[in-house]
Symmetry: C2
Subunit: 411 residues, 2 copies
């Protein structure tokens, strides 16, 4: 029997999805499972997008251009212009989700053995894409004590070697919800220029910023045109994860033309998703106001609820729809399994994602979980009750982090 | 300015798409261009598939399972059962086109530096996927003189080294249209077992076999369950290339679970494409009868038409909708460019794909072009006239291959 590749063996399982079989078992027992494990929003897709494929009447569902339909790319350029970002459609490549955009960026800019620096905890699948491309992730650890703010520049410089080719950030961050300030991004710019590094930024949660905070994009950093590659996606913006439509955006012509060769090999991004995505550009602004208000309320509910539970610590995220909470447990992964396998409260339980998969070193984040607040407030309240009850009876309960920082007093 | 990756530099341009700017120029001059360069069929997508997304009314366009919707996977299992192939839905992973299925197979089974043997000429993007994964393609050359039949087993054995992990075939073949016999596949089975190699088979053109010939699938080879990985796609079968839906199929559990990790990293295949794909399974058999008859007539028209032109040689393909023709020209790539830039006949011209991109060594196939007979017969006739007139006046005309083989007498 032929053997599996070493790469295939090293490829990490998704921490977001690997507990799914336990959730399925719990459901078979008749239990309600509150899914706070995955960023699959329950927010309705804008009607304009749903209408678009209903009214799409092609004779043949054809390939699009490898970089996406031109009319759509022009529409995306206008979307950026409205945000104050000057981008030509020829600098925008439509991809199969943000995932593919990041993979193309990695493959166009880094070879196997090259290094990318990422502040951790980071979106777990970055590990997967790095593994696919043979790229080495060097993490710079941000901590729950500082609310996951950008680590000092010295921490980045410690990680820089002759193999370092890029820095990757997610802003606002998955899994932390941290929103980088303009000043923090200027710091990253300095490092990128000083060491001639690419700056990759995953900004798929751009629209989800709370407390009147404004998102500042890497595309707005001056003098960094050759360094910046933006990863974007419509999955979260318009609640249409299943469309599998994203974008790679860069003013660096060589990066663009190289990424296009990878894009040509896979022929084209999905045609139906692009039809829906192009229509979604006409989503009324009122949709975002409503959605933002909803997420903001959910965040307040979940963060204050978590911090009220004895021993639980959760910084207040400035954006996206995730937070990282520290729990008074021996091992968060064991706890998450136990929640699904052995626990129920009024025939309900909750599915969380152990946060260790979001660190380069799984020993970190051992007491942390990622929570996606993508369910209605009533469900979030029930999930919080489950969690509170569970922590009363979990056999592996231990003493907690101190609530010492002002960041934790969000109530 | 940071540098591009070596991989990115080595990544080949798609030979199918790289002449597109010349075609666009020709169109700007008001010329009609007959596109025989790309396998984008003009055949209509089955109505059941078009109706499906019209009637799909989700509140939210959600991610699917990373391996695809279970109902769809069960539907695909039934599709295979109807072909006489016993496959469980748990052995079927829905992918983003056949492209992704092959990429997952490569990454799950081969590491960088490992070798895959492919009979050439082969689908050009195999080079791209190999480059993406750092895999080395070792070609076994099939020739136009034998109508592109499987090279003898000794030619495969010559290429086998300690790094060889797999053989990849496309059946029926793109770009040759060659349909492998059961005996040829049994030969490949022998090699796979003797050297413990994976056998990857791209069978996306399975339905397109002519002259009452029957397709024999690698999935029907007995005793090869651990070796076979099937790459499939609905792009050509139902003329819905833009849906971006394919499948990886294997009875090897370890390959499946490894590929699933790569699938999890990219979250899910396109939801809308899966809705259309699942409905397409109900396409009436009469659709395929009609389509097959149409392609069969187009093939007869194009192959006999080509062989009638002085100096042109084209074997008669048994399946798919491509053929490779040898032309009496100095350099097929120059000729293809010249057709678009400098030639017109009654204000029309034809776009062909130079075949050198379908060989591991671009020096091979220097006089050959790939022709996709995906246009209506009237257009094919006009395209043939253009080609005939072009060859009368092309400055780089040279003497031709002899029409010595009986394979060439298809008229």
């Amino acid at each position: 029997m032929p053997t599996i590749s070493t790469k295939g063996k090293l490829m990490p399982e998704s921490p977001i999805r690997k507990l799914v079989p336990f959730a399925e078992e719990a459901k078979k027992k008749g239990r309600t499972v509150y899914h706070l494990n995955i960023g699959q929003p329950d927010i309705e897709t804008p009607q304009v997008a749903l209408d678009a494929f209903k009214n799409f009447k092609p004779g043949v569902i054809e390939y699009s251009h490898s970089a996406g339909n031109e009319s759509y790319r022009k529409g995306i350029a206008k979307y950026y212009k409205d945000l104050g970002i000057e981008i030509n459609h020829s600098q925008i490549m439509v991809t199969t989700g943000g995932s593919e955009a990041l993979l193309f960026a990695f493959m166009s800019c880094l070879d196997a053995g090259d290094e990318v620096i990422i502040p951790e905890p980071f979106y777990a699948n970055y590990n997967g894409f790095a593994c696919s491309s043979g790229i080495v992730v060097k993490a710079v650890t941000s901590t729950i004590e500082t609310g996951f703010s950008l680590p000092p520049i010295s921490e980045f410089e410690k990680q820089i070697t002759s193999k370092t080719k890029a820095i990757l950030i997610c802003n606002p961050g998955n899994p932390t919800g941290y929103l980088y300030s303009k000043e923090e991004l200027e710091t990253l710019k300095e490092i990128a220029i000083k060491y001639d590094l690419y700056l990759f930024a995953d900004e798929v949660y751009r629209e989800f910023c709370y407390d009147e905070k404004k998102h500042f994009s890497v595309m707005s950093l001056s003098g960094l045109d050759e360094h910046v590659v933006l990863v974007d996606s419509i999955s979260k913006r318009y609640s249409m994860c299943g469309a599998r439509v994203g974008a790679l955006v860069t003013r660096n012509k060589e990066v663009f033309s190289t990424a296009l060769k990878f894009a040509q090999a896979r022929l084209s991004p999905p045609t139906l998703g692009q039809v829906a995505g192009e229509a979604a550009l006409n989503t009324p602004l009122s949709y975002f106001d409503k959605v933002n208000k909803e997420y903001s309320q959910r965040r307040d509910l979940i963060v204050s609820g978590l911090n009220r539970i004895e021993g639980v610590v959760c910084p207040n995220p400035g954006g996206a729809f995730y937070c990282i909470a520290s729990l008074p447990v021996d091992d968060a992964e064991n706890f998450c399994k136990w929640l699904l396998q052995d626990f129920e409260y009024q025939n309900q339980t909750v599915m969380l994602t152990p946060a260790n998969g979001f660190y380069s070193d799984p020993a970190l984040g051992k007491q942390e979980v990622r929570i996606a607040y993508v369910l209605k407030k009533e469900s979030l309240e029930k999930a919080l009750s489950c969690l509170e009850e569970a922590l009363k009876v979990y056999p592996g309960k231990i003493s907690s982090l101190k609530k010492s920082s002002p960041l934790f007093s969000v109530e």
